[in-house]
């Protein structure tokens, strides 16, 4: 018999009941909650007269709707100008109070994007099952945790029963071997992977990312990779636990302490796929082949290296692909453009649960330091992932570097990643964004999103168009 994959191990360890029909009850260790996908779940609990099964397994923070300007943030919830957003954030506060759930509210320095906050607090731990009403919950898989997004009905189900009705996924290994080139980051790696397997390539799979290039990534980088597993169709992204994982978790507020820490670390050693484990599918990339990536279209799979020409619809042989390329060309306004460098940018957004951690901000700051944002740009904003990331960045003087270069320094939240608050693109505007989705209208009605790494976004802010960050830093 062959060995177990990391996913198999996590699944087995959380199995409460396997049913004959293939479905199972899976025990959930941590549920993260935010204001957008939880109100209807709490309402459901109330209507049925139910209580959370284990209150302490939940952690909440508002992120999607919160404003990011200092002015609006000064007076907490009352400062939210949009009345509908205000109701949603207030509802989260009220629900957490009513049910006794720990919440980092808008005035708490620990508030931030759920996927930044969980790991930062040590709430996310190796070997856990983590769910959240948000598809980018795959982020937490970077810790060797089984983590994925769920819908609101499931949020309610987990609140009420501590379990999820789940079905086992298939195993995929994506291996990135070798050493990454300078200024090629975790973001470029995951975009290249999506470019290779497509946005549906991982559907039905739990993807484990492995290989020397993945192992050499920091926890921040690993989170970036797992974050975007969902953009390849996989609900779950996973990376094996190693010393990097353990070092990151140690001494975080919610991490185990003392004797329990030792016990936990011992147990976490097993959170790797066995050497003889079999995967249903294996995809291999060479790190050396990966260059800085930029998306040109309206799906994360419409991605190319900075030096490649933009692919044309008429060159596509598959009719469905041809049709969607043609649509993307039109939406993105690419007529008459040959390369990414021909696109004139309007805005730059550095932030989101993909790239708003301290390392991301450092990478962007390094590029803009001593330079000035292009005068053609309407706006360039930097939105840290949490209050603590913001504080750390300020301590390192990164905020000064950004503002001196002409970028705006904001308060933490999802911001322009999905434009539920005031931060958004105008119609037809092109944006270099470190977020994870370039869907039509994602960053604002008619807005045109190009996904890139923080370093590439920073370079784009300086040049006013897409350039290889390697060329920019040489100047």
């Amino acid at each position: 018999m062959s060995g177990k994959t990391l996913y198999d191990k996590l699944w087995d360890a959380h199995l409460v009941q396997q049913r004959d029909d293939g479905s199972a009850l899976l025990y959930i260790d941590l549920q993260l909650l935010h204001e957008v996908t939880s109100p209807q779940a709490f309402e459901g609990l109330r209507l049925a007269g139910r209580k959370p099964w284990r209150v302490s397994s939940n952690l909440a923070t508002p992120d999607h709707n919160v404003p990011t300007t200092v002015l609006e943030r000064k007076s907490g919830v009352d400062g939210i100008a949009d009345p509908v957003s205000k109701i949603q954030v207030t509802t989260l506060d009220d629900n957490c109070n009513e049910f006794g759930i720990t919440e980092f509210n808008m005035t708490d320095i620990r508030q931030g994007i759920v996927h930044v906050v969980g790991p930062e607090q040590g709430a996310t731990l190796p070997g856990m099952t983590v769910v959240c009403g948000d598809s980018h919950t795959s982020t937490h898989g970077a810790f060797g945790a089984l983590a994925h997004g769920i819908g609101t009905s499931e949020v309610e189900h987990v609140l009420a029963t501590q379990c999820l009705v789940a079905k086992k996924m298939r195993n995929m290994l994506v291996r990135v071997d070798g050493q990454l080139n300078p200024y090629v980051t975790a973001k470029d790696v995951v975009l290249a992977i999506i470019g290779k397997i497509g946005t549906a390539g991982g559907t039905g799979f739990a993807i484990e990312f492995g290989g020397s290039a993945i192992q050499s990534l920091s926890m921040e980088g690993r989170m970036t990779v797992c974050n975007m597993a969902i953009e390849a169709g996989a609900r779950v992204g996973l990376i094996a636990v190693d010393q990097t994982t353990i070092d990151y978790v140690k001494d975080r507020p919610y991490a185990p302490k003392g004797e329990q820490w030792d016990m936990a670390v011992a147990a976490w050693q097993d959170l790797v796929s066995d050497a003889d484990a079999e995967f249903d599918e294996v995809v291999v990339l060479k790190a050396e082949d990966i260059k800085p990536q930029v998306t040109w279209g309206t799906s994360p799979e419409m991605v190319i290296a900075i030096d490649q020409p933009i692919p044309k619809a008429e060159d596509q042989t598959d009719p469905v692909k041809r049709e969607s390329y043609a649509r993307a060309w039109k939406y993105m306004g690419l007529e008459g453009k040959e390369t990414l460098g021909d696109i004139v940018l309007d805005r730059v957004f550095i932030g989101s649960c993909t790239n708003s951690r301290i390392e991301d901000l450092r990478a962007a700051a390094e590029v803009v330091k001593g330079r000035k944002v292009a005068s053609t740009l309407k706006q360039a904003i930097v939105v840290p992932g949490s209050g603590l990331v913001k504080a750390q960045a300020e301590q390192e003087g990164l905020d000064k570097i950004f503002t001196e270069a002409g970028l705006e320094w904001r308060e933490p939240g999802c911001s322009m990643c999905l434009a539920m608050n005031a931060d958004k693109l105008g119609q037809g505007e092109h944006c270099a964004s470190t977020s994870n989705r370039n869907f039509e209208g994602r960053q604002g009605f008619g807005g045109r999103t190009h996904l890139v790494s923080p370093a590439m976004a920073a370079a784009a802010a300086i040049a006013g168009r897409f350039v290889d960050v390697n060329d920019l830093v040489k100047q």
Binding site: Y27, S135, I150, S153, Q162, V165, T203, G204, R235, R442
Partner: protein
């Protein structure tokens, strides 16, 4: 939950691959704290010329004539034909809520994104995977026949065309059972409360740190 047994209704062809949840229901409408009322904003950006706002009256808004559900013959659509990877993107359950509120009961496509697929069942909607060629055939037939209706029988797991051709589809036994009966998942799981507690006790022995009370 409303049970699903047999459904017959007008089918409409949405000829687009990778329809994402931002297309199904754009984010400005996610600010609602309710489960209902999303139907008028289903496919908002594909459906209307202007940018929709939450709480806006939609009857006077300019419609995009090229959008399938705006055509008179598809006004009462309850079966949506779609292309591969339908429902990709976010986990928002507002997507099935919007489809449901609009009156869609069945979505037929060659493939679905996982979370969306799952969310449909929780809301009495039936997502059906058929082979690419079968979906192609349905697209051809619906385009050429006005008033084209499909009958979906969940018990028998079949989709039947007006000419009597039947395609069969697969569905998990558990999901099928819940949908046929309109069962509430939570109630069912709570019947296993003893098992859940037993699991917790065992787990607490081997991984006590997972149960440490949060005191911050």
């Amino acid at each position: 939950m409303r049970p699903f047994t047999v459904h017959t209704g007008i089918a409409a062809p949405l000829d687009l691959a990778n329809v994402d949840t931002d297309m199904i229901i754009p984010k400005q409408f996610l600010k609602s704290i309710k489960r209902t009322g999303f139907g008028k904003n289903l496919f908002d950006e594909l459906r209307y010329e202007d940018e929709g706002q939450p709480d806006q009256e939609c009857t006077g808004r300019p419609l995009r004539q090229d959008f399938v559900l705006n055509q008179p013959r598809y006004q009462r659509t309850s079966v949506l034909l779609a292309r591969q990877n339908f429902g990709c993107g976010s986990s928002r359950e507002h997507a099935p809520w919007a489809l449901d509120d609009f009156g869609i009961r069945v979505i037929i496509a060659p493939s679905f994104a996982d979370i969306f697929y799952n969310n449909c069942f929780k809301n009495g909607l039936l997502p059906i995977v058929l082979h690419e060629e079968e979906v192609d055939q349905l697209f051809r037939e619906v385009n050429s026949t006005e008033g084209y209706q499909l009958t979906v029988d969940l018990e028998a797991q079949t989709v039947t065309t007006p000419s009597g051709t039947s395609f069969s589809f697969l569905v998990d036994t558990f999901r099928k059972h819940c949908l046929l009966k309109g069962l509430d998942d939570i109630g069912l799981t709570l019947e296993e409360a003893d098992r859940i507690r037993a699991y917790e006790e065992k787990r607490q022995q081997t991984a006590p740190w997972l149960f440490a009370p949060r005191s911050l």
